[in-house]
């Protein structure tokens, strides 16, 4: 394990702890949008998919790289786009009523 990998492990633990405490503040009223928003964030794996695909198409079996790389990007992007758009849709529903009151 080199130093970067050690740093990454620390980043993982710190991010998880900080995330845990911030998320603890979210009321159960908003748990569904929270979850679908988190879900969208888990599509961040698209970053890995982009890097791996770019590398894989220069590997000894480029076709394999193209097929699985494109698949990974498509799947991750479905997760990202679907997650953020649907979260936005739900949250608009919550705030729609605000305007009725004012």
């Amino acid at each position: 394990m080199d130093s970067i990998q050690g740093i990454l492990l620390v980043v993982f633990i710190v991010a998880a702890l900080v995330g845990y405490f911030i998320i603890n503040r979210v009321p159960s009223l908003l748990h569904t949008p929270l979850m679908s928003g988190m879900n969208a964030l888990s599509g961040v794996t698209i970053l890995g998919a982009l890097v791996a695909t770019a590398a894989a198409i220069h590997s000894p079996s480029p076709l394999f790289g193209y097929i699985f790389g494109a698949l990974a990007i498509v799947l991750a992007m479905i997760n990202v786009a679907g997650g953020f758009v649907v979260t936005n849709r739900m949250l608009r529903m919550f705030t729609k009523k605000e305007k009725h009151h004012d």
Binding site: V11, A16, G19, Y20, T32, S36, A52, G69, A81
Partner: protein, 468 residues
């Protein structure tokens, strides 16, 4: 030469600083999601951070000209957007499960590449994290697809229990760990891609076996857990390919899923480890209620309009049955009618009323219920005794006093809404069969102050409104 090294070092530093900033933006976005007014902006910030992350990655790894990347992004975006715009609010749990699953699959593929040394080095750390990413990502994908299939009624909602189910689950888990260890330390005499494929197969079986056993009402826990796993899969894939943003965001998502899982477990009085072993269901042979059906039909016609008209403090308890009957707009109409008569109407939301955390709130908001009228269990449970009327729509286990008063039932100890403390209770329910947990509800046998309207809530509430 020295100059060149220096430049690369600066680029790395800049990269890590920008990643740090993006992680802070993501955390800020989540922070803003704790208030209704700021939540949409928080969601936008998170989306923005991911978009910048994509651009940053393209620049940093110098892969801007690779055309296949853009095709993948465009296709994925269109499919995701289409699904998100089209989905009905009651289908939200299966959409979230599905999206979890595809994210998990993407992480598994990244892990697969990484294990073959593509996009990373072939050291021990990369190997073990790559294999873990394959395992967790594959379990997430297959587990989520089963969950989504059950929620979407493509497969039976009932728990499917194989002979020796727990032994099979534990056995598969052991084989899974063993294959990760084997894959990590196996030398050059094995074919790496074969190791990885074997791992995918085992993880797939584990994911299937672990979720087929879950029944409908246990879905909130399962979906939360899978949500956590999809984050963890991303974080581990990030470790394998040394992507700091992936690690940070994956860690945050993993923690959030775990937190929601804990909340759901508490609300359903279950322990996480028993769920991990597959014992998620409290189902018993559902006993047919001892109550004679004829009495009930009479009482079902006699919901007292006077009680409804004179009530000043009303609490509505919506359950998943209301959502199944698509009766939320009628419930809202009933609440409006009560308000017109001068009643203060509040909604009491049990944490597991629905198929995912917070689901009921979304369904009621869709029916134009003001979110400020929605109360969490802890905030409203003391108000039932002082209320004039409680209206229960399609909820059973979450208002079953047996959970509080009787030992030894599957729901004993589960926190419930104290609807039984209210002097007058009107219950709209499909039938008198025990709820999901299979425990008879003593409320149905109470002689005074309980009126039952049996049948499809969409019909019974409509009839009531017409008679008003």
């Amino acid at each position: 030469m020295i100059n060149l090294v220096f430049m690369v070092a600066i680029t790395d530093t800049v990269y890590y600083i920008v990643c740090g900033i993006l992680a802070v933006i993501v955390l800020t976005g989540i922070y803003l999601m704790s208030k209704v007014k700021t939540a949409a902006f928080g969601n936008f910030l998170s989306a923005l951070a991911i978009a910048f992350g994509i651009v940053l990655t393209l620049v940093k790894y110098d892969i801007i000209p690779v055309w296949i990347l853009y095709i993948g992004i465009a296709v994925g975006f269109l499919i995701g957007y289409y699904l998100a715009v089209r989905v009905k609010m009651i289908e939200m749990p299966q959409l979230v499960a599905f999206l979890n699953g595809v994210g998990g699959a993407a992480s598994a593929i990244v892990g697969f590449f990484a294990y073959l040394g593509i996009g990373t080095d072939s050291d021990l750390f990369s190997k073990i994290t790559a294999l873990l990413a394959i395992a967790v990502g594959t379990v997430t994908f297959f587990g989520s697809m089963v969950a989504a299939g059950k929620l979407h009624k493509l497969i039976s909602q009932k728990p499917i229990i194989l002979p020796f189910h727990t032994i099979i689950t534990v056995g598969l888990f052991s084989v899974l760990i063993a294959s990760i260890i084997f894959g990590t330390f196996s030398g050059h005499n094995t074919i790496p891609s074969l190791n990885a494929v074997a791992l995918v197969v085992i993880a797939a079986l584990f994911g299937l076996v672990f979720t087929v056993r879950v029944g409908g009402a246990d879905m909130p826990i399962t979906i939360s857990l899978l949500n956590s796993l999809s984050g963890v899969a991303g974080a581990i894939a990030g470790l394998a390919i040394k992507d700091v943003l992936l690690v940070a965001v994956g860690g945050i998502v993993g923690a959030s899923g775990l937190l929601l899982t804990q909340i759901m477990c508490k609300a359903m009085n279950r322990r996480l480890w028993t769920i991990l072993l597959g014992k998620t269901t409290a189902i018993r042979k559902s006993q047919v209620s001892a109550l004679p059906q004829t009495d009930l039909e009479e009482s079902s016609t006699a919901v007292p309009i006077t009680v409804l008209k004179t009530a000043k403090k009303v609490i509505i308890v919506p359950g998943y049955g209301m959502a199944l009957a698509q009766a939320q707009h009628l419930v809202k109409a009933l609440a409006d009618r009560l308000s017109e008569n001068g009643a203060a109407v509040k909604y009491a939301i049990h944490p597991v009323a629905g198929r995912m955390p917070g689901h009921m709130n979304v369904l009621l908001c869709e029916a134009d219920v003001d979110y400020e009228d929605l109360y969490e269990m802890a905030d409203i449970n003391n108000e039932f005794a002082a209320a004039d009327l409680t209206i229960i729509v399609g909820a059973n286990d979450v208002v079953n006093p047996a959970a509080r008063d009787t030992d030894g039932t599957p729901i004993s100890g589960m926190p419930i809404l104290n609807a039984d403390h209210c002097p007058n209770i009107v219950i709209f329910n499909y039938d008198l069969k025990p709820g999901y947990a299979g425990v008879d509800n003593p409320l149905y046998k109470r002689k005074e102050g309980v009126w039952l309207a049996l049948g499809d809530a969409a019909v019974t509430i409509k009839n009531l409104l017409e008679k008003w």
